[in-house]
Structure formats: C-alpha cells, structure tokens
Symmetry: C2
Subunit: 190 residues, 2 copies
DNA sequence: TAATACGTTTAGAACGTATTAAACGATGTA
DNA sequence: TACATCGTTTAATACGTTCTAAACGTATTA
C-alpha cells in the first residue's frame, strides 16, 4: 500500500530524466540517477534495469557516464559479486564537476577558436571591414572572459562555498536587481 | 587578398556553431548567427544560405528560432522585397532571453514535477522508507529553490546590471573562493 | 571441470532531428 | 496577363544517437 510512494518516486525519476536530457546527458542517465537517489540502499545493475524497464547493457553504459561525472559511485558487498550503485547526494558537487568536465572543455575549445580568429583578423590587410570584424570579435572576447572568470571562480570554490556564494547572490536582489522584489520573485524561505 | 579575414570569419562561425549545438540550438543556428554577427550589413536569406552552403528552407527555419530568442532581427530595404537579417550584438541580452525562454520553462516543469512528487510522498503511509525519500526530495527542493532564485535574479536585472553583477562576482575571488588566486586562475585584465 | 551468474561489448534496429528538394503562395515587374 | 523573384511549407531523405538482443569474458559455485 505504498503505491503513493512509488508514484512519488516515478515522478521524480521522470523529472530528472527530463532535466538530464535537457542538459545533454541522455534521458536514461537522469532516470538512473533518480532511481538511485531515492533508493535507501545501493542498487544492482539488473535491479536498476528492471525498475526502468531497460536492458543491462544500456544501464552499464549510462552508469559509466554518471560515474565519470561523479554523480554515481559503485560499491560492493561481501559475498556478493554483483556491483551496486549509489547516487552522490551533494548537488553542488555534481554541479561543479558537470561544469568542469562538460562545460569548461567545450567552452575552452570555442574560446581558443575565437582567439585564433582574432589573430587571423589582426593579420588581414587594414580595411574598414577588418575594423568592423575586430571590434565585434573584441566584444565577444570580453564576454567570454567574464563568463570564464565566473566559471573558474565556481570551480575553484568548495561546494560549500559555492552554495554560500549562490545564497549571497540570491539575497542580494534589493541592492542590485531592483526589479526582483517588485515582481514578487524570490519569496523568502518558508 | 582578404583571405585572412575570411578565414577569421569562418573560424568564428565554426566556434559559434559548436557552442550553439552544445547549448541545444542546432549547429546551423549558431553558424547563421556567427555569419550575421560579423557581417557589416544585414544579409538576405539566400546570401546566408550561400555562405554556409545550406538551403533557403533550412535557413528560413533556423532563423526563426534565432528571432524568437532575440538573437537575430529582420529588416527591410526600400524597393527590395527581400528580407534581411542582422545579429543582436549584446550578449547579455541574448544570455538573458536564452535563460528565460529556454532554461526557465524546462526548469519550472521539472520543479513542478518535483513538488508533486513531494506531495505524493507526503500522502504515503508513514514508514522509514518514506522518511528517506522525503528527506532526499527535500534536499533536492532546496537546491532547486536556490538555483531558481539566482535565475530569477538574473532575469529581473537589466543586461547592464547583469554584466555588472558578473563582474562583481568575478572579482570577488579573494574574499570567497580562496583557492582561485592560488591556482593562478582569473588573471587580471590584460 | 562443468555450470551458473555476473558485467561488458557489439552489431543492428528504432527513433528523433536536421537537411534537402520541390511545390506553393504571395508580391512585384514586363 | 504572364513572368520572375521572394520566403515558407512539406514530404522525403540522410544522419546521428539511443536502445536492444545476443555474444562474450570472467569470476564463482558445485
């Protein structure tokens, strides 16, 4: 008679599957994470597969992604040669490793290309058009640099500090945003 | 003899195509934006298609996305019934509308599902397992709320304020991060 | 050793998305 | 009116990704 609890679980699994897919991990990865996150104890590969109605092979691959991102750990139990998985519960840790492992490299790649682009433009013959291009490339670079600084900041802080930072930012509305409280956004913790 | 300038352009187009794809817009959308961004004047549909080696129909669809995200505007010229496109140059504006139009709705959807999940768990029969679930759902909710506040803050600020905010954050390393300058991250503006 | 229970790998099927080519409607021009 | 030039829509195709089913290798048990 814990049908309600099952539906609760199922809904969260779907929610995380959705988010996961949105952020470029597969839907499955998010669902796996969700299942593990709500399970009282670690789950075996087959168990996860059964819950989500997927194949072992499928889970095997997806779970590796999750491990690499630090979202899932594997564990063992004496006298049982199965592998068990459990979810990392600290979302700040996860956000950080995701930022560092997924976004940062992709970002750096584009940034490098932008720099090369700037270099090439600098080597082109002087012309009004070249100035146009260089100016625009310059703005883009400035933007990139600022985003990059922020990313680095987030990456260099401990998860705890990261959380604190976000809290500071979130409560700084009055001083900076000015419109947030007028719109009745950001309600106080209830 | 502005081959260098062409290569510079091409490289930026590729960089933005890459980023665009990474962020869930098509590669094409980013490439279109890049082409427009570096062009001194607005480009016609066919012109863009020719530059990127794609079809009119393709561009027509992709450019609509970009318009909806506020990344591209269309313009006209007297005595010419062609439509021209030009890129929005303010990245803060773009980041904001992207956050609001793409991320926020998706985020809200998952958040609503999470809340429903919490509700269901609350209705389940009391048990150790239910407490487990509710506690985890609670942490997740807390995380979501904090992220949500931050998003709302960013959305409610003007692009200019948003930029200022980021600058403040980026220069606040010493006080908060503590590790960033040790790691020689965040070099000063050169 | 043989048999069983795992997790992983692989080739192929299924699926969704991006792209094309062609048709279409609308708008201007001879 | 006939014709040409646009942008858009549509049906078909190409492409990449995800998932499955089966084979495989390894470790454990009898």
């Amino acid at each position: 008679m814990d049908e309600k609890l099952d539906r609760s679980r199922e809904l969260l699994v779907q929610a995380l599957g959705r988010q996961s897919s949105f952020w470029g991990l597969g839907k499955t990865a998010g669902e796996i994470y969700g299942a593990l996150y709500l399970s009282p104890d670690p789950l075996s590969l087959e168990n996860v597969a059964a819950r989500l109605g997927l194949t072992k092979g499928n889970i095997s691959i997806a779970v590796r992604q999750l491990e690499q991102l630090g979202m899932v750990r594997r564990s063992w139990q004496r006298g049982d040669r199965r592998v068990f998985f459990e979810a990392e519960g600290d979302f700040w840790k996860i956000a950080q490793s995701f930022l560092g492992l997924r976004h940062k490299p992709e970002f750096s790649q584009s940034f490098a290309m932008l720099e090369e682009s700037v270099r090439l433009a600098g080597e082109a013959v002087r012309s009004a058009e070249r100035e146009q291009v260089m100016e625009r490339l310059g703005s883009l670079q400035e933007f990139y640099r600022l985003v990059d600084s922020t990313v680095e900041l987030l990456l260099s802080a401990t998860p705890e500090k990261m959380k604190t930072m976000m809290e500071m930012i979130s409560s700084a509305v009055a001083g900076i945003g000015g419109a947030a409280e007028r719109k009745n956004l950001m309600p106080a913790e209830k």
